[in-house]
């Protein structure tokens, strides 16, 4: 089979699309709107800390953050490509998008590992 990298990115794009579609709306709504607007009591610092400290939570958060970014990288790359017809910048855009996603994935891995 011709070695082609597309299925690799597409697989990550798909996984990221699924995990973000299921988990981001509720997290965003609670953390970003309901709690700051005072509709909900924020959980105490210690409780939250213990929750995130749990290895399973950290694993989940890592997957969520990295896959969401890889999902973004792939999708956004093609949005620029189709939407602005910047064919000549194709490679640069690909490197920037995937590169950013991979860099932040490493940062996320580091932060969650040391947590």
């Amino acid at each position: 089979m011709k070695k082609n990298i597309d299925p690799f990115w597409w697989g990550l794009f798909g996984a990221g699309g699924a995990i973000s579609a299921i988990s981001i709306p509720v997290l965003l709504f609670l953390n970003g709107l309901a709690i700051p607007l005072g509709w909900l009591e924020p959980p105490a610092y210690e409780d939250f800390f213990t929750l995130v400290k749990h290895p399973l939570t950290r694993l989940f958060l890592f997957a969520l953050i990295s896959l969401s970014l890889l999902h973004w990288a792939h999708r956004f790359r093609f949005t620029l490509y189709d939407g602005l017809q910047v064919k000549h910048l194709n490679e640069l855009i690909a490197i920037l998008c995937y590169g950013t996603a991979i860099a932040v994935t490493f940062v996320a891995g580091y932060i969650l590992w040391r947590f």
């Binding site: 981001i24 509720v26 997290l27 709107l33 909900l40 610092y45 969520l64 969401s68």
Partner: protein
């Protein structure tokens, strides 16, 4: 006819229409497509916010309190509000399109598309309920 520069015998002059840069504004279906693709920005935005929140949490109560205060600023509320709309659009379009990619069989029968999309929504509801329950009880 051969005198006409526009016409050559073996290769008639074909007319090619150029695609305008803003082709996606010409039809609602295309605009919806671009909006759907742009939801990826909201997804990335929240992934980064979440990471920042975790970092603040790791840095200690004070950093965390600062972060919570930032979340309360109007800028953050507006950003989150807009992002929520986009993320919801992402979820709905994602679930609705998933039967196009996934074909499952039960014995010889193909599982109907509605059931595949439906199970996505079910997973969504269950997950969301679980998170709400977790936040309320910890």
């Amino acid at each position: 006819m051969s005198l006409n520069p526009n016409y050559t015998k073996y290769h008639p002059k074909w007319y090619r229409k150029r695609i305008p840069i803003f082709w996606w504004m010409q039809k609602w279906a295309y605009t919806k497509f671009i909006l759907r693709e742009l939801t990826s920005l909201a997804v990335a935005f929240y992934a980064v916010v979440l990471l920042l929140q975790i970092r603040a949490l790791a840095q200690g109560p004070e950093a965390y309190a600062n972060f919570l205060n930032w979340l309360k600023t109007p800028v953050s509320i507006v950003l989150h509000g807009v992002a929520l709309l986009f993320v919801l659009f992402h979820s709905i379009t994602w679930f609705n399109l998933s039967p196009k990619a996934l074909v499952f069989r039960l014995g010889k029968k193909r599982i109907p598309d509605a059931l595949i999309a439906g199970s996505n929504y079910a997973a969504w509801v269950v997950f969301s309920a679980a998170i709400v329950w977790m936040i309320l009880t910890i």
